[in-house]
Each structure stands twice: as C-alpha cells, then as structure tokens.
Amino acid sequence: MNKARDNILARLRARSTEIPPVELDRGFRSPDWNRQQRIELFCKAMTSVRTEIHRVRASDWADRLAQLVKERKLNNLLYAPNGPLARQIEAAWRNGEALPELVSRTAELDEWKEELFFGIDAAITSTRGGIAEVGALILWPTPQEPRSFSLVPPIHIAVVKADQLHNTFADAIADENWQAGMPTNAVLISGPSKSADIEQTLAYGVHGPVELIVLLIE
C-alpha cells in the first residue's frame, strides 16, 4: 500500500498555507510534595477506585501477603519464581501453614493459557513504581513477570515501593527518561477492572482483575 502512503502524505503536504507551530508549554511543573505526601495521595486516590492498600515494611510484606491469601481461602497464587519477589514469597510459604498452592509457570503463555484463564485464582507481581497524583501503578512487564500475570487472574496483588512513587505521570516519564526506550508494553493500573456502560452505574470486575490489592512498602 505504498501508493496509499504516498498519496496521503502528498495531500497533507499540498496544504497551501504554512501552519506556524505555536509556543508549546506542556505544563510541566512538578508539585512540591514530600515522600509522606506522595504516600498519602497515592493511597487516597487508589482507595477511591476500590483498590485495597496495605502499608507494609520491607521485612514483613510477604507475611502479610500470606495472611491475605489465606483469609481469602484462595486455591493458588501465581508468582514469578525467578522474579524480584520470589525469595521472600518462598520464605514466607516455607514458614506458613495451610497456604494456597504457589504456582510457578515459566513456559510461554500459549502452552498453559487454559490454566491461566480458568485455573488461577490470583497472581502477584512487582511494579516499577507508582504515580501519587492520580493513584496508579506503573508496570513494565518482564520475561520473568509477563503482562498477563497482572491481567488474567481474578485477583492481582502488586508490590510497590514508596520510594518509587513519582509525583505525576509527567514526572515518571521525565525522571526515568522513558522516551529513550519504551518496553514492549507499559501499563498504568489504578484499580480493579470496571465499567459504567449500563446506565452509567459503576460495576467492578468486568474483564480485568476483579480485585486489586497493593502492598505498599514504606
């Protein structure tokens, strides 16, 4: 369809009058928030869209995780055995009793799609950080923690470090220089899946996770 391409570009370039570019201010002024304010804002915004937040310590978050999944009487929990959370999860499971089965799958999705769609209760992933202003998690999925982990199972549990909270989305892009190289898929997640398509009435748990649980390490 190179002909289509050439025709379209030629028509666009045929514009008789030059359009002057306008002075562009992208409104990039980062708010003056400290760490504690970021944490409060993040928790408030995420809670307002029904995300369950647990403020935890670096030393004991995995115990809290074990407790949460036990309370929910889950059958299993999907995790990444070679991911950044594996060591602590495995340690907590060694010490815990009557915990859901830890599921580790390192094959390509295509080989266990049926199980992922219909046999997994919950999955846990790390995150790249969060955005305080709007209350969102930043996920850049990796080969260890594929993107379907945070998407397909009915419960997604995410671990985010308070030190990795940015003030705004614009800050996150600028601070980490995202434009230098974007991953295959980056996603911001602010809560469990929802829809207001029927009578503009909010209903949770449409196609993505029904529950989003965040463990915020302070």
Binding site: L12, V22, G135, V187, V206
Partner: protein, 472 residues
C-alpha cells in the same frame, strides 16, 4: 427522501421515546457534573485546555513528518505499519492479515475507527467472527445496533432492556436486572472469547511519533486482553491521532479522562511499543498498525475546518449539547454523533448526505466551551452551513453547494438588497408596521412550537428619532 426528511424522522422517533430521553438526560447530567467536579480549579482547566490545544495543533502542523517518524519508529520496534486511503482499503488490509493467519475469530476492543470502517459488517460477510468486548459495545452488538455515544455506546438502553437482551441471547443465564450481575455475566461469556481469539483488534488514543508507541485508554481490561492474549494484534487509527512526544501524553490523558467521565485516570493506560520480543512469554507475536485517511487529509487542506482534527474523542461536546441530550446519538446517523460528529462526519461522508447535521445545533456555544482542545465547534458548524449552500464551489469539502436552493438564495439576495438600500428599507419597515395586524397567526413550521412574532408599531429608528437621538 431528502437527508432533511430522513433526519427529521429520526429526530421525531427519538423525541417520541420517553425512555430514551430519560436515559440521555440522566446520563448527560451525570457526565457534566462529573467533569465539573474533576476540574475544581477553573483557571487550571483553562490553562490545561490551552496546553492541550497547542499540543494537538503542533502535532497537526507537523503531521506529515510525524507520520513518517511514527512509521519509522514503529517499524524499528517491529510493528508493521499499513496505510489506507479509504475504508475499503483499511478493511482489506485487516482481512488480508486474518487470511494470512488462517484466522476466523477476532476479539475487539472499543474502536470508533472500526465503526467508521463498518469493519464487523465487512469481515462477517467474509465469514469471520468479530466479537465486541467492551461491555457497552457488546450489548449493542447483541442487538445489532450502532453506538449512541462515543464513550458510552449503550447508554440509550436501560438495565431492564439489557437484562431482556441478555436473556434472549443467552437463555442459560438466569434473568437479572442487577447491574453487577449483568456485568459479571458478560465477563463469563467473553472470557472464553478472549481465550480463543486469533486476532485482537483495538483503536488508538494517541500514537507517539518519538517512540513508536500506541496508547490506549480503558477501564475494563478488555483493551489489555485484546492486545495481549491473541497471537496477532491489529490497531486501527485515523492519521490525525499522531502526537510528537511521549511528554505530550500526560496532559492529553488528563484532559481526556477528566472531560470524558470525570476520572483522574482510567483503570488502565496501555502503552504498546512492539510485538513480543525474544525471551518474553506473552503478548502478540505480530502487531499491525493501520493508518486510515478517509478524507482526513482533505479536511487537513482547509485552514479553518482543519481544527476539527484536533479532537481527542472525549465526548464532552455531546455531553454538554442540548440537542444531543434530547435526541441521543442514533438520530444523527453517522458513527460519531453530537457537535463534533456534525462537523467531522459531513466532511467524511459528504454534505449532500449529512450536511443537515450542521443545523442540529442551537449555536449556544456549550460544545466549544467544553472542548478540552478548544475546537471552535460553533464556528465550524456555521462554516458547514455555509459550505453546503455556497455558490462558488472552490473549496475542498465534499458535497459543497449541494444544498443550495435557488428560491432560498433569491430570498436572501432580496433581503440583503433591502437592508443595503436605505430608501427601500425604510419603506419596507413602514409598510410592515402599517400592516402588522394583517400578519397571520400561523406562519408555517415556525409557529408550530413558537408564538408568532409581532412587528412593533414603531420601528427602532422612529422611536429613536422621537426620543431626540440625532445619530443612531
């Protein structure tokens, strides 16, 4: 039937349906209120609107270069870029991709461009199955309808209507009018469809030239599923969606979600930059981007109408439109309703077919004030009213001058001659005052819903003279 008669008929149908009017009234009031609450600081809102308008205007100013940059960066990332001048070409590109993969099952995320392409219709005729997965789109697909709002496609339906529809199409699911239950039913039904689909289709909210990234705004997770689970992802978008930098995205996203539904951010904001890379364990192995022109480059050629290409499809103009709120989306006809639709769609489908939509406005200005990227909608509606009756057909709009009527033109010529000739004007107003009681009470359609206006006994000129004004 003329386009006007057809439009009048659709409007009458809508106005005669109290349920429909209630649905729209309640929803639009709610959406206006949500937007208002999302922007508590009005000075900030105005500043942000200016930023958004400038970002979009600059992207359009450099559109050909940015499209080439987008293509180069997508290609480098492994995304296959296709160009389509017409919807036929775009549909053919999608079909070819499906056939190359021997695919018959497509799962779709919400895409207004695919509505514009009538893609489902085209692919189904070729034996393909296309399942809409956005809850609203799924509902209207079950009922063979088109969206009635660009962000709330099934808003014309009440929960009872949805419940009856689900029962009719899925008799095995227990009847329920509970919205949570209906939503969960859709989840159950569509889960298998996501699992089985061979092709995932999505639209694009912003295409970032700098990085070759396709951004997708959504709440349900169906956008993520469509672009993650099937082995092939096809994204379709209009060429105007390109923006220059990744840093352009945060302000536009802020404007889009707050203007649309009053959300500070949607549940999911996807940034897709490549197909699955070696070592990665999920994600589509192929990603295609279809860039559709369909008259956009023609609109681009007009220095005024060009502003309509800034649109980020938030729907705020329709939420705030007194006409849309009363007649709903279906009365308009083309895929995009409301003020922005009345500007864009006649330019795509021709003034001879949809020019009448430019009259579906009171020119109250609410749309222009709500627009997050400051598209001067009332001015453009005005311009299209002129375009369809103008005598010289020197512009680029399709169907230009097609609605010109000799009789009407003659009346206006006479009108302007009277007003430009003082002697005639004075005699005419004197005569009108003199015979003011002879004007009939009913003057055609005007007096069907209005009181017939009465001419004053004395003209303003006369009153002013009596008051002693020398220079009026």
């Amino acid at each position: 039937m003329t386009q006007k008669a057809e439009f009048d008929q659709r409007v009458k149908q809508a106005l005669d349906n109290p349920q429909l009017r209630r649905n729209f009234r309640v929803t639009m009031d709610g959406l206006m209120e949500k937007r208002d609450k999302a922007f508590p600081d009005k000075a900030f809102l105005e500043e942000l609107r200016t930023i958004g308008a400038n970002i979009r205007a600059n992207a359009l100013a450099r559109q050909p270069e940015l499209l080439e940059q987008l293509e180069a960066n997508c290609t480098r990332n492994g995304i296959q870029v296709h160009w389509a001048e017409t919807i036929e070409q775009a549909n053919r590109i999608v079909l070819d991709i499906m056939e190359r993969h021997h695919a018959t099952r497509m799962i779709k995320g919400k895409s207004m461009v695919s509505e514009e392409m009538q893609m489902n219709h085209f692919l189904e005729a070729k034996g393909k199955s296309c399942v809409e997965s956005d809850l609203g789109e799924y509902i209207i697909q079950l009922d063979n309808e088109a969206p009635s709002h660009i962000i709330a496609p099934a808003i014309h339906k009440s929960k009872q209507e949805v419940a009856r529809l689900f029962k009719a199409k899925h008799p095995d699911i227990p009847y329920s009018e509970d919205i949570d239950t209906l939503t969960r039913s859709a989840r159950q039904i569509l889960r298998r469809k996501f699992h089985d689909a061979e092709i995932g289709l999505s639209g694009v909210n912003f295409a970032v030239a700098e990085t070759g990234t396709l951004c997708l705004v959504e709440n349900e997770g169906n956008g993520r599923l469509c672009t993650t689970v099937p082995p092939v992802h096809i994204a379709v978008t209009g060429i105007e969606k390109v923006v220059e930098k990744l840093a352009d995205v945060p302000p536009l996203l802020k404007l889009l979600t707050r203007s649309a539904t009053g959300q500070h951010i949607t549940t999911y904001f996807n940034m897709i930059s490549s197909p699955r890379k070696p070592g990665e364990r999920d994600g589509p192995k192929e990603v295609h981007l279809v860039l559709l022109d369909n008259q956009r480059s023609r609109i681009y050629g007009d220095s005024e109408l060009f502003d309509s290409l800034r649109c980020i499809r938030c729907g705020a103009c329709m939420n705030h439109c007194p006409v849309y709120t009363r007649i709903g989306g279906h009365a308009y006809g083309p895929p995009i309703p409301g003020p922005i639709g009345s500007v864009i769609e006649p330019q795509k489908f021709g003034l001879e077919n949809f020019g009448v939509l430019a009259t579906a406005s009171t020119l109250c200005g609410a749309c222009g004030e709500a627009c997050p990227v400051r598209i001067p909608l009332p001015k453009l509606l005005h311009r299209l009213r002129y375009e369809q009756v103008r005598e010289d057909r020197t512009g680029a709009t399709i169907g230009q001058g097609s609605q010109r009527s000799g009789k009407e033109a003659l009346i206006w010529k006479l009108w302007s001659w009277i007003h430009a000739t003082p002697l005639v004007y004075r005699s005419a107003t004197r005569l009108a005052s003199l015979f003011r009681n002879r004007i009939p009470n009913r003057i055609g359609p005007w007096s069907q819903v209005r009181t017939t206006p009465r001419i004053a006994p004395k003209s303003l000129h006369q009153l002013a003279r009596e008051e002693g004004f020398k220079h009026e």
